[in-house]
């Protein structure tokens, strides 16, 4: 190998390692700070290793936000399941039972998804108040189910469109109807897509902040994202607690990402319409 190639090769790694450091530093500092007791927290010691492993900050943060954590679980799981199933049946209609104007409807679904959430917030609060769901976990779940329809329908549509029409036609000849085809042909093929969409929806709902803040601002009922905000806007900022809280809130989605990275990646590519 020539010196030149060796140089280029190591330059590549140097750049990759530098960026890996950039992406990891916030996580590193969160862990480092979270492991220090309050009396060792000074912004001048941000880079120092903790003198000993102190789990007190994590314990304290958990004590203050465990109910928020479980709120997030209670919101994310039904929200993800309902919106995923809705997406599956909608995607099936769009892909295999297209009717006049169904393309326009799918287009309007997707278009709405790309617009800023602020555009619907005021009427959303109003309608939820009217339904008695404002400030309630169920109100936020309902909102996530509805606002999840576009992305989940799109993801399933793109997958079902790749299922050969011959398969559907053949079972029509066999006498299968709309639901028969869905149950016998479409659903058995949908396992991986359910996983992709489910992972995507879980991550999105868990991390959502704007709607959660508006609908469930009440600290006792809020999900973790809002709890972090409440932590960071306390008068005297306990950095160790903030970092511990932010890490605790991230554990589920990071775990899903590390364990199911491939599914996560597919959702990302398909959802951005470039998969």
């Amino acid at each position: 190998m020539s010196w030149n190639r060796l140089l280029v090769g190591s330059a590549k790694y140097a750049v990759l390692i530098a960026f890996a450091a950039f992406y990891l530093v916030p996580f590193y500092v969160m862990i480092l700070t979270g492991l220090k007791p309050l009396e060792d927290i000074s912004s001048f010691e941000i880079w120092n290793m903790p003198k000993s492993l102190d789990w007190g900050s994590f314990r304290e943060a958990w004590n203050q936000m465990d109910s928020n954590f479980w709120n997030s679980v209670r919101i994310t799981i039904p929200g993800a399941i309902v919106s995923t199933f809705l997406g599956s049946i909608n995607g099936y209609v769009f892909a295999k039972w297209g009717f006049r104007g169904s393309n326009v409807i799918l287009f309007l679904f997707v278009f709405g998804m790309f617009l800023p959430g602020q555009g619907i917030l005021i009427p959303l609060v109003w309608v939820l108040q009217f339904m008695g769901l404002y400030g309630k976990v169920n109100g936020l779940i309902m909102a996530y189910c509805i606002f999840g329809i576009p992305i989940t329908s799109l993801l399933f549509y793109r997958y079902y469109a790749s299922v050969p029409d011959e398969l559907v036609d053949a079972s029509k000849i066999d006498g299968c109807g709309f639901f028969g085809i869905y149950r016998r042909i479409i659903l058995p093929l949908s396992g991986p897509t359910f996983a992709v969409v489910g992972v995507w929806q879980c991550t999105r709902i868990w991390n959502e902040y704007l709607m959660a803040l508006v609908v469930l601002g009440n600290p006792a009922r809020a999900p973790v994202t809002v709890a972090i905000k409440n932590f960071s806007s306390m008068g005297v900022i306990p950095w160790n607690l903030q970092m511990a809280a932010a890490l605790i809130a991230s554990v589920p989605t990071i775990a899903v990402y590390l364990l199911l990275g491939k599914l996560f990646m597919r959702g990302l590519l398909e959802g951005s319409l470039s998969g």
Partner: protein, 307 residues
């Protein structure tokens, strides 16, 4: 087995009223609740927001009397709105360029059959798995002007270089772009990497046989072929810039609203000051701003998919 299957499948439609035996109608009926939900919760709500923006509703009690363009006049005369527009430009330029340049660079490097590719890819995309709220919390700590990153810079011997980061009264927004790009550049990297992997090897080989070096290969083959990916990245980061809300909500609006955004301004006017009409005007403005970013993109993508 087969005849049994179809017999069972036949029995259900026989029980249904005649008009429901047509599967096309069943399909529309199944889709109908979703259509209604999206129509109401997205499109009617947007129209409603537009109407609120021309109403007198600027106190807690509901007041939908027509106010004309009063809220809009107030908006365009509000100095905070002007700062937010300037901030939007600053953020969009910094955020979009970082996401696209870093995303492309990392994808190009990873495409070179690098050892440890899975590790690097996993690390680059990890911030995208966490909430923007987490990004804001961690980076606020890192960007404390008196310490944080500045401490590292000082330790490396550049003691006179002490940026104020998000506390900067004019350019604080650029510090926010780092937090945004930290989360989203990995996403753009993934888009580009998938795009690069989709380019057939023969094309690369043909270009190399024709004497193209790495630079020429990228300039004349890869970058033109990746134009659709770049378009996607521009639209996603552009739409993200307009909707930017989470980070200022965590960091605060900074000195002289230096890190304020339209999204946060809307939130504060509406839900903290009960100025619904004014908040709705900001929201409508954000919607109008997003349409030319998103609409041509979706039309072009859908047209391509049909072909």
């Amino acid at each position: 087995m087969h005849s049994e299957l179809s017999a069972r499948a036949k029995s259900l439609p026989a029980l249904l009223p005649k008009w429901l035996r047509d599967d096309r109608k069943v399909a529309i009926l199944v889709l109908a609740p979703s259509i209604i939900a999206v129509a109401v919760f997205i499109y009617i709500f947007m129209g409603w927001t537009l109407y609120i923006s021309v109403s007198n509703w600027n106190r807690p009690a509901l007041d939908l009397s027509f106010a004309g363009l009063k809220n809009w006049q107030r908006l365009v005369n509000d100095p905070r709105f002007h700062i937010d527009l300037r901030n939007l430009v600053l953020f969009a330029v910094g955020y979009m360029s970082q996401c696209i340049v870093i995303g492309f660079l990392l994808a190009a490097l990873l495409n070179e059959r690098i050892r440890g590719e899975v590790f690097f890819r996993t690390v680059f995309l990890m911030p995208f798995a966490v909430s923007a709220v987490v990004s804001g919390t961690a980076w606020r700590w890192l960007q404390v002007p008196s310490a944080g990153i500045n401490l590292l810079i000082a330790n490396m011997g550049f003691e006179s270089f002490r940026p104020l980061w998000y506390m900067h009264p004019k350019l604080g927004m650029l510090a926010i772009t780092i937090m945004g790009a930290w989360q989203f550049s990995g996403f753009v990297m993934a888009l580009y990497l998938a795009g690069l992997r989709a380019i057939p090897d023969e094309l690369r080989e043909a270009a190399v046989i024709d004497g193209a070096g790495t630079v020429a290969l990228y300039r004349y083959v890869f970058i033109p072929m990746l134009r659709p990916v770049t378009y996607t990245a521009v639209v996603l980061t552009g739409a993200g810039s307009i909707g930017n809300f989470e980070i200022p909500s965590i960091i605060g609006t900074g000195p002289g609203f230096a890190t304020d955004t339209l999204g946060f301004y809307m939130f504060e006017q509406t839900f903290r000051s009960n100025r619904y009409g004014l908040g709705a005007a900001v929201a409508t403005f954000m919607l109008i701003l997003s349409i030319p970013v998103v609409l041509p993109y979706l039309i072009s993508v859908l047209r391509e998919e049909k072909e």
